[in-house]
Structure formats: C-alpha cells, structure tokens
Amino acid sequence: MKKIAIVLLVALLIGALYVPALAEADKPFAGTEIKVYNWYDYIDPEVLTIFEEETGIKVNYVNFSQNEDMYTRLSTGAEVYDVIFPSEYMIERLIKEDLLAELNLDNIPNKANVLDSLMDPAYDPGNAHSIPYMWGTLGIVVNTEMVEEPVTSWNDLLNEKYAGKIFMMDSVRDTVGLALKNLGYSMNSHNQDELAAAGEWLMAQKDSGVVGGYIMDQAKDMMAGNEAAMAVMYSGDALYAMEKNDKLAYVIPDEGSNIWVDGMCVPKSSQNQEAAECFINFMCRPDIAQKNMEYIYYSSPIKQVVEGLSEEEKASIAMNPTEEMVARCEYYVDNSDVAYMYDDIWMDVLM
C-alpha cells in the first residue's frame, strides 16, 4: 500500500514538473501580468478569459470613460499600464509627448487583418505606435416615434418641442466639436471667433432648456427605454440602443461629423511590451474581433469581420456608413495647444 502511494506521489511530482514545461513552449509569457486600460463597456469579458487561458498571461483590467481622464492617469505616472486604448487625437498627442512605445510589428502578424483604409493613418504614420481596435462616427440617435420631423442637422437639437428630452454628451471635444461643425467650421478649429460662436450656440441651447442633460454611458439606456427623444452618441452606443428599441434611428447630420478610431497602444513605461503586443495581436484575430463586435456593437476594423456582416448590417448607417457620409466626417486632430480655449467654453456650458 505504502509503495503504491509513493509511486503515485512520484508520478504526480514528475507530472507537475512536466506539465508547466510543456506549457512553457507555447506560452512564452505565462505568469506575466499585464495591466490593460480600456474604456468602460468596451470588450467582451469572455475574450479576456480566453486570452488568459491561451497564453497564461494574467490580465489586470481597468477602465476609463474619457480620453482626458486616461491621459491624466498615464501622464502623471501614477500608474503603469501595458495596453491602453486611446482615440486617434489622443494617440497623436501621446506620440508628441513621447509617452508611447514603438511597437514591434513582427510580434503583431494579425495587423494584416485590419482594413487598409484605416492603416497607416495621418495620426500615426506606419502604425508605429498603434493598431486600430474599433472605429465609428458621432451622430444623433432619434426616437422616430417621439420625433415627427426628419432629423438631418445638428440644429435639430434646438427643437423646443422636445425640451428636456434632448441629451448631449459630457465630453468636451465631441460637444464643442459638433457645435463648430454645425456652424460650418472645422471640429479642430484654432480660431477664437469660431470657438466663441460655437460656445454661444451651446449656451443658447442650454439656456433654452431643451437639454435634458450632459451624460455619457446612460444615454444608450435612456434612448432604449424611450426616456429621451434625441441623443448625441457614438455609433457603437447607437447600435446598442437600436438593438434594444426598433423605433430608434441613427443620423449623421448633413453638416458632417466626427469619424474616430480607437487604437491599441503600449505606453513607454510598460515593462511587459512583448506580452502587451501578444495581447494586441490576439485582439486582431478575426474570431476575437467578431466576439467583441457582437458584445459591444462597435464596428470592427478587421476585414474578415466586415466581410461577414449581414446585408442588414451592411445597410446600417451606424455600423457601415457610406463613403459619401465618411467623406463629410472629420478626424479629430490633437488640439492640446489650444485646449484651454475649448475648456473655457466647456466650463461655461457645464458649470
């Protein structure tokens, strides 16, 4: 009896030594922990579990709700992150301030899956620092049952018939940006007069009492629950709300709007760059991108996923805007040199 026990014990010990050795071969980063800093509600949590199982890398997953918040946490060095998900204008700024590591693209072979139109962008030539994660536009979600007239312009957000039922975003670039665009200016204006005019438009909107609130993540639930008539939203949130309420429609106003890309980057302060690149590569895998898209409803830039869209999805303005619509839209450019002007306007509106 004793002998059998010893044999078993020895076998177990050998097995215990052998299994990790086996795992080591295809899990080069097993045991590493990476800190991933992403937007709230912007991943299928299951994807993280699959990643941990496949690679043995432990993911410490934390969230932000605005680029500016993320920038503050990162730039003060309060914490060290391994993968972050900034929007394109923030990527540009982070590159300028030398806060991003240069990616070793050999470690990210799945970059070949990304739509060519989104590769080699002006904000990050050659994708030296970022790989696109999701992309989309900014627009108005309309409850077509509550709102009788067709919505085609940002000015429809002034309609006093829907006082208290129109929701704006609690986000300086988007809200000041749409006011600028509405007046025919660039969303990246550096001109004091143009910005002042945009500020007046927003103040007039607020003072007229049409604005029900300046919110972020709650907007999709309010639209889905028929609590709001119109809300400014990112296309992905719009798709989420439209999925839950078929009376909703998404509009990219005639004046034009913002087109954005959220990228995946590795901060310079990261100690685990290779494991981080392994994570980025994983996120570009078609089956994983598909899972994320189905969960968060944003448009994935992965070719295989786009090709697999249904006819209905391809026809959706929020999921797949036409080329003509995209042409009306504008990327944000880093505005940190005039950010105080945007801030002044925004504080007046918000406070």
Binding site: E68, V211, G213, N226, E227, M351
Partner: protein
Amino acid sequence: MKRSWYATPYALWMLLFAVVPLLFVCWYAFTTPEGTFTLANFQEFIKPRYMGVILRSLKLALYCTALCLVIGYPTAWFLAGRGFNHAQSLVVLILLPMWMNLLLRTYAMMTLLDDNGVLNAALQALGLGKLKIIGTEGAVLMGLVYNYLPFMVLPIYTVLKKMDYSVIEAAEDLGCNPLRVMTRVVIPMSVPGIVSGVTMVFMPAVTSFAISTLLSNGKLRLAGDLIDYIFNQSSNPNRWNIGSSFSLMMLVLILISIGFLRKVDPDSEGGGMW
C-alpha cells in the same frame, strides 16, 4: 509602554494620508507649475464661471440644511419621547441607510425618480400625471436631504435624550402651555444638538460631489464636481495648482463652520461626532 503610544498607528496613518497630502495641497495652491510662489491661483476663484458654481453649492447646502432641520427636529423629538419603547430600533432604522455606500443610494434614487421610474409608474397607475424630477434642482436637493438627514437627527436626538424631563414637568407645573414648553425650554436646551446637526449637514452638503451630477443628468454641478473637473479633465497646465487652491478654500469654509460650532457649543454637548 506609555499609554500615549497606543494611538501611534493611527497617528502614523493620519500623518501619511491626511497631513502630508494636505501639505502637498498647500504647496500646489501657492505655487505655479514651475514652483515659484504665487497668489494667482486664488484669483481664479472669483471668476464668474466658478463663482456661479460656488454660489449654487452654498444655496443648495443651505436649503438642504434647513429642510433637514425641519424634518429632523420633530423626528428626534418623537424618538426621544419618554415612554416610547421602540426608540432604539427606530434609531437603527435611521442609521441603516448610512451603512450603504452613498453612490449606491444615489443610483437607487435615480431608478426611483426617473421619468419612467418606480415613482412615476406608481403615479401613473393611480391616474395622476408624471412628475419631472431627475434633471431638476429639486432632484439634487432631494438627494442631498436623503443622504444627510441622519446627521441632523442623531445629534439632536442625543441632546434631547439626555435632557432632564423634570425640567419640562416644572415648566408645565408653572403654567406653560405645550407650545411655550417647546419654545422656552426644549428648543433652547437643545441648541447644542441643533448646531452640531446643522454643521454636520452643511459641511458635507456644501462639498458634496457626484450626487448632483448624477441626479441632474450632468446639468447642475457643485463645488466638489468643479474641483474634480479641474484635477481630472481640465487641460489647463496649472490644473493641479488651481484645483489645490479651490480645495483649500473649501477647507477654510469647513474650518469656519467648525469654529462657529465651538463658539455656540463649547463643550460639544451635541455629541460632537468628529
């Protein structure tokens, strides 16, 4: 070991997490980002854009304190009543919500008061119209009163409970009617509790944060939200300095109210809770 050493862990804790950060705040408040001395950060405070927020905070905190007093005093009087056997359990009921996180309670409040929330659903079921609550100043005020009411009831209750009932009997024997017993005996004797309650409601209300943003759908922000915005989202290169100067001003406001409390209630009879 000397008895005075027993508090060492707490003293270290305070040093590390209260005194040192406070010194940082003072340093930032009086310097530029380059580190030279300046008072310019405090000039920001009087800009109309910020003044509006400060005044709104003061106004709402005053309303909140007044409402808490009007609701809380009779409650405390009722609880402290002689021959009332269930006082302890009711006090626990009043304390109960305080065991839950303030943000959770505020989120619960949002669900209750929403346009299609529980309250409006009930009103509609009764054939009454809907009430627009969330997004108004009234919602913020309700949230503040709801969160801070226990801080008013408890100190007043403590003082009334300790009061010698024979004083009231004496007043009655000497011919006071119930109203005069209240105005000439009970209320004057409970002043320490009132002062304590008023301070303990006013202080957190004036510096409150997140409650107003949530209940007003982001339309009404208070001083606490302003400081949060300056620190976390502002693109101003002086944001830490301006934010610190604002924090310091709020601290001064709190110190003034504590000084006021000491003056009216020198022996902390109102069960000083700090």
